[in-house]
């Protein structure tokens, strides 16, 4: 378990970098839109292509880089009706079943979003803004990467549950430990 935890620590760093990318993108988005509003009202101009840049670049940058961190932060909702009422063995069985379902759908999403990204690369997908074309396909690759990281997270959870006595859907049960970056 020691080695696994060490590997997980490295993985944590990657996730935290993702949070920073997303967090800075939110700030950029705030300043960008506010500046656009300011310029429009004061100089009755507007950032050329601002709308498309926010939509196609900033929104995905806000959401996808940090998705793996969000997943492991314990913030994602679930219905907690019966889990705590089950015995330890039942609980573990249920968690294994859920992990397998998660891994199955995550694998499908990674595969198809990867195909989508490769297809975009091939066709050089781009979007028009203010009369010019901006490349869009590089951002498509964030999707398979984000979901692949969630897949890896689930592998860690699987290993943890195989090695440890107590069943859990988190690798490190106290999500508080993740906050220290």
């Amino acid at each position: 378990m020691e080695g696994v935890l060490k590997a997980y620590k490295v993985f944590q760093y990657l996730k935290v970098i993702g949070v920073w990318v997303s967090g800075i993108s939110v700030l950029v988005m705030m300043f960008f839109i506010s500046y656009d509003v300011f310029v429009r009202n004061v100089f009755s101009g507007s950032i050329r292509g601002g709308f498309e840049i926010v939509q196609n670049y900033l929104m995905p940058l806000v959401v996808f880089p940090s998705l793996a961190y969000v997943y492991s932060s314990g913030v994602l909702p679930k219905m907690d009706l019966i889990m705590d009422k089950l015995g330890a063995r039942m609980k573990k069985g249920l968690i294994f079943m859920m992990l397998l379902i998660e891994l199955f759908i995550l694998a499908l999403i990674v595969q198809f979003s990867w195909e989508f990204a490769m297809n975009g690369l091939e066709r050089k997908t781009a979007f028009p803004a203010a009369g010019t074309m901006y490349p869009l396909y590089p951002l498509f690759f964030m999707i398979p990467i984000a979901f692949a990281m969630i897949f890896i997270e689930n592998i860690f959870i699987l290993i943890r549950n195989l090695k440890e006595e107590k069943a859990s859907l988190l690798v490190i049960d106290k999500s508080g430990e993740l906050e220290g970056f």
Binding site: R40, S44, G45, R48, A126, F127, P128, A130, L136
Partner: protein, 346 residues
């Protein structure tokens, strides 16, 4: 379902049809639906369509991809929304000095069916829509400029006006004419316009009712034309070839039959919108009555836009010069007009 398999002569053929547009959009309600109904009729119910609208299955502008990857069998394709994939589709958005829905619709159909070789021995359709079986439908009515009150008395009034630009060509035109282009989803426009966030939009009058603009615009310039949006009913070549011949014939016949009534609908809708707009005090100003310097300013922007668009295509290795000349010639044949300097393009 296996798309590659050819259908039997009398086997029921169920086709999945889709659009990201709403059920009430003129292209869906008055072109695609009548087409589907006519095909069902002509094949005595052998062909059955199951339709998905309003983006419930496929959203704008993903219809083309959905047809090609087999998610749906047939869809209303709006190629102008994907200038990266179909850069030559925007040609119908080039500004003109005169045309109407029928002129532009017929010209669009002719362009799609044209056998003029533009490059490498390929026609327009072969270059842009080689994966599709294309059934042309009408273009929209011409785009006008409408504002919530701002009027163009002198050329200076044009500069700095903020207008929403619905396509790349309009953005180029706005740049040429010194107009500030604002991009925003059509759904947010009503709210933003009614609060004076910007001045107006390039829009086709026939399309106003979709967003309630007949209650909002106060000043519209008519008699000049900022292009026509185009569309077609698209099916993948593969799917098309899997259909029995009599079904193919029915589809082609149905397409011929719905084409003109589909165009007429835009005219009817436009008349209704104009009546409603006049009731709330909306003004319609004919371009020829504007000050000479205003007219000249708009015309100059037009020439620049044609040249700019052709250059843009050429710089991407596409036959831009040949395309704009072909479009101009077809359009003139159908009764359209362009400014003098564009007539001189070779």
């Amino acid at each position: 379902e296996d798309t590659d398999k050819a259908y039997g002569e009398s086997e029921t053929i169920k086709l999945r049809a889709a659009t990201g547009l709403s059920t009430q959009h003129a292209w869906w309600a008055n072109s695609m639906v009548p087409w589907m109904e006519r095909v069902e009729e002509l094949t005595d119910g052998q062909v059955v369509f199951e339709s998905f609208t309003g983006g419930e299955l496929v959203s704008v502008p993903d219809e083309a991809d959905a047809v090609l990857d087999g998610t749906v069998d047939v869809a209303l394709v709006l190629p102008i929304y994907e200038p990266d994939q179909y850069p030559m589709a925007e040609v119908t958005m080039l500004p003109l000095s005169h045309s109407d829905t029928f002129i532009a619709s017929n010209a669009w159909k002719k362009l799609l069916e044209s056998d003029v070789e533009l490059a490498d021995g390929k026609t327009y359709s072969e270059m842009q829509f080689s994966g599709f079986k294309v059934f042309p439908v009408s273009t929209t009515q011409e785009y006008s400029i409408s504002t919530t009150g701002k009027e163009f008395i002198t050329a200076n009034d044009i500069k700095g006006t903020s207008l929403r630009t619905p396509s790349r060509i309009h953005e180029v035109y706005a740049g040429e004419a010194g107009i500030n282009s604002v991009t925003m989803p059509a759904v947010e426009m009503y709210d933003a316009l009614s609060r004076g966030t910007f001045d107006g939009s390039f829009y086709s009058i026939a399309d106003w009712s979709g967003y309630g603009f007949q209650d909002l615009f106060k000043y519209t310039i008519t008699g000049v034309n900022f292009g026509h949006f185009n569309a077609f009913i698209g099916m993948s070549k593969e799917k098309w070839e899997s259909l029995p011949e009599h079904v193919q014939q029915a589809m082609t016949q149905a397409n011929e039959e719905i084409f003109t009534p589909g165009a007429q609908e835009w005219v009817d809708r436009s008349e209704k919108a104009i009546t409603a707009n006049k009731e709330i005090g909306g003004q319609f100003v004919d371009f020829s009555t504007l000050n000479a310097d205003v007219q000249e300013h708009f015309h100059k922007g037009m020439e620049g836009t044609w040249k700019n668009y052709a250059e843009l295509l050429e710089s991407n290795g596409l036959p831009g010069d040949k395309l704009v000349v072909l479009w101009r010639d077809i359009l003139i044949e159908e009764g359209g007009e362009v400014p003098e300097s564009i007539m001189n393009l070779e």
